[in-house]
């Protein structure tokens, strides 16, 4: 008998029923930075387009999902998609210069080719929210992941009831997407902005996000909250206060969604870097309902 074992090429091996999946693990779409738009001193909005036309057509995502962006030799990191899902294969990412990759990204211009893997993770259940009121609450850079559901709301405005965006930052210079505020208002979206520290030109309210919430809630009644969905994204400390306030006024936990941010090295439930308790943020999240978050240790 032949005593030499045969080498199995797993990607070709017929016995493996999921050979396509295996090949996709490290597959990245080649994409190009088509525009870089500075939003503040720290954040840029990058428009990135998949180069291959067929891949571009087939690339679909839902509001709330994220992708892994890679600059070969520099690094790879997760970013939530901050643009409308209608634009297949062209995504916009709002990125703060804060680490190796993001600082490098700020230096390269349009025309640079990057790799993207994804989309990964869960999304906001936008269809479920049809016919309901929506509260979109963002703190600081938390507006980036919310821009996708906001775009969805704009495109389907008639399907939603009252829509409020409550947005807070440290100071007015950090406000993101300022050029869109008028468009949002035009689409009958109530925009409430608050800053922690005002400058001379700031005329709006000063304080924490919860201040706006409390003011808003004193004016509206119970039935309103029963038919309200909330989407919350911001720094960890904000979640606790905002979600507590929302629970107190009676928004059901299953109708409150948060988008969590964690370190990630794979996006596919392997590297464990994003684990909260022992739940993978990349697989079961990043969008969680508040009930799930309450049951996760150390989530917020």
């Amino acid at each position: 008998m032949d005593t030499q074992l045969k080498f199995k090429d797993i990607v070709r091996a017929e016995e493996h029923r999921r050979q396509d999946d295996l090949g996709r693990f490290e597959y990245s779409y080649k994409a190009e930075i088509t525009s870089v738009h500075p939003l503040t001193e720290m954040e840029n909005l990058y428009q990135i387009q998949i180069i291959d036309p067929e891949e571009r057509r087939n690339f679909k995502f839902r509001p709330g999902q994220f992708l892994m962006l890679e600059l070969p030799g520099i690094g790879e990191a997760p970013f939530s998609i901050s643009s409308s899902p209608v634009m297949h294969g062209t995504v916009e990412l709002c990125i703060r210069k804060v680490g190796n990759l993001t600082n490098f990204l700020a230096k390269v211009g349009r025309g640079t080719r990057v790799g993207i893997r994804g989309p990964f993770g869960t999304s906001f259940p936008m269809e479920e929210m049809h016919g309901q009121n929506i509260l979109l609450i963002a703190g600081g850079l938390g507006l980036a992941p919310l821009r996708a559901p906001i775009a969805y709301v704009q495109e389907n405005r008639s399907r939603f009831n009252n829509v409020d965006i409550i947005y807070g930052t440290k100071d007015p210079s950090q406000l993101l997407f300022t050029y869109q505020y008028d468009m949002w208002r035009k689409d009958d979206i109530n925009l409430h902005i608050i800053v922690e520290k005002a400058n001379k030109s700031w005329k709006g309210p000063v304080g924490m996000i919860t201040k706006i919430l409390e003011k808003m809630f004193s004016k509206r009644n119970d039935p309103f909250y029963k038919n309200t969905y909330a989407i919350v994204c911001g720094p960890p400390v904000m979640f606790k206060f905002v979600c507590n306030t929302l629970t107190e006024i009676g928004i059901p936990m299953q109708k409150m969604f948060v988008s969590l941010e964690r370190r990630m090295h794979c996006g596919m439930g392997k590297c464990c870097r994003c684990n909260v308790g022992s739940t993978y943020t990349c697989l079961k999240g990043p969008v969680f309902d508040y009930w799930t978050v309450m049951n996760l240790k150390e989530a917020i």
């Binding site: 008998m1 005593t3 030499q4 074992l5 045969k6 080498f7 199995k8 090429d9 797993i10 990607v11 091996a13 493996h16 999921r18 999946d21 295996l22 090949g23 996709r24 693990f25 490290e26 597959y27 990245s28 890679e70 600059l71 070969p72 030799g73 520099i74 690094g75 790879e76 990191a77 703060r96 804060v98 680490g99 190796n100 993001t102 025309g111 640079t112 080719r113 790799g115 960890p236 941010e261 964690r262 370190r263 090295h265 794979c266 596919m268 439930g269 392997k270 590297c271 464990c272 870097r273 684990n275 909260v276 308790g277 022992s278 739940t279 697989l283 240790k297 150390e298």
Partner: protein
């Protein structure tokens, strides 16, 4: 299931048949520790006399062969603003593992669940796992082994054949056709009733030798209830956050990815290296926020992943009870002690 018995001398023949055309990995002795006890490692074996089948436990699991500590995920050719990516799963031949204990095979079966059978199967692991030919070998329980508590002292699948020393002969369990064909090349017989009796006696005797235990009853709930318990801070004070426990663990698969540009600036590589959730920057994000800054929080997280989260997802623990982490821990932290303290049991 097919059983065979062979005379002890036949195993030597089988080894040389296998080693003639294949790469064989097995336990070999690498010197002794300061107490004079032998240190075993998994390594390529060429001679039967080097194969220490009655070894205790290797310091490191065999994971360097299927989850290497450092591995390239992809390489890039860079050309101005453009690049080409190429992917290699870093395996070119099948490996024969001669003499894995039940705990280490169970560890592979657990890894399969996360790395192959989950949503995004990982080809780097799958390619190596599918090219493993595994010969299990029965063990002698050591004072630190608590595999029996974790249900990992016996193994039902995930290997090709399993050998038990029943005194005068070897009793072999055959699971794959490849193994069946190999056995045909040596003088193997159908076991008789007397062999069955000897086998059962051997197993019964082995069971008596376990001294370390972990009570896993309701453990997921208890871990949840005791999340704020002070015992975690007690163990965190001892822990050095060195990551040794993950390094020696047969089921720790967490990793980090790093990219580097080659010195010629024309190519780059993306490298994966195994990591440990006990290391300080494991959950640190860009900007400096660390979700698990305190040592005890990281130590606690490791226990929650092994004994709670994995159980919730797969209805079994990620720990196989091999005891390597406790033996290797510089601070002397062992799983049975930690779990007992969380359960409020006296040490």
């Amino acid at each position: 299931m097919i059983f065979r018995v062979i005379d002890k001398e036949e195993l030597r023949k089988l080894f040389y048949i296998l080693v003639a055309d294949n790469t064989v990995i097995g336990p070999v002795q690498k010197g002794t520790d300061r107490d004079g006890n032998p240190i075993y490692v998994f390594e390529e074996v060429f001679y039967f006399k080097d194969l220490k089948l009655h070894y205790t436990t290797t310091k490191l699991p065999a994971k360097r062969y299927f989850l290497p500590f450092k591995e390239d995920l992809s390489t890039f050719r860079i050309n101005g603003n453009d690049w080409e990516k190429s992917v290699d799963y870093n395996i070119d031949r099948p490996y024969i593992f001669f003499g894995l204990h039940a705990c280490d095979i169970n560890a592979l079966n657990k890894l399969d669940k996360v790395l192959i059978e989950s949503v995004y199967p990982m080809p780097y692991y799958a390619a190596k796992r599918k090219n493993m030919f595994i010969i299990g070998f029965d063990c002698i329980p050591q004072p630190y082994c608590f595999c029996r508590s974790m249900g990992a002292d016996t193994v039902l699948h995930g290997f090709d054949m399993y050998i038990t020393d029943i005194g005068n002969r070897y009793f072999i369990e055959i699971l794959s056709d490849t193994a069946y064909n190999f056995i045909k090349t040596i003088n193997a017989k159908e076991p008789k009733e007397s062999d069955h009796v000897r086998y059962m006696k051997t197993v019964a005797e082995k069971n008596k030798k376990f001294t370390a235990h972990v009570d896993t009853t309701d453990l997921t709930k208890i871990l949840d209830m005791e999340f704020q318990s002070e015992v975690w801070e007690y163990w965190g004070e001892k822990c050095l956050a060195c990551g040794t426990c993950s390094m020696v663990c047969p089921t720790c698969y967490c990793y980090g990815v790093e990219e580097n540009v080659e010195i010629d600036l024309r190519s780059a590589r993306k490298t994966k290296h195994l990591y440990s959730c006990n290391l300080i920057d494991f959950a640190e994000v860009a900007g400096g926020h660390n979700f698990r800054f305190e040592r005890y929080v990281r130590l606690k997280y490791r226990y929650y992943h092994k004994h709670r989260g994995f159980v919730e997802a797969y209805e079994e623990s990620l720990c196989v009870g091999c005891g390597r982490c406790g033996e290797a821990c510089l601070a002397g932290i062992t799983v049975p002690e930690v779990i007992a303290s969380v359960r409020g049991e006296e040490k």
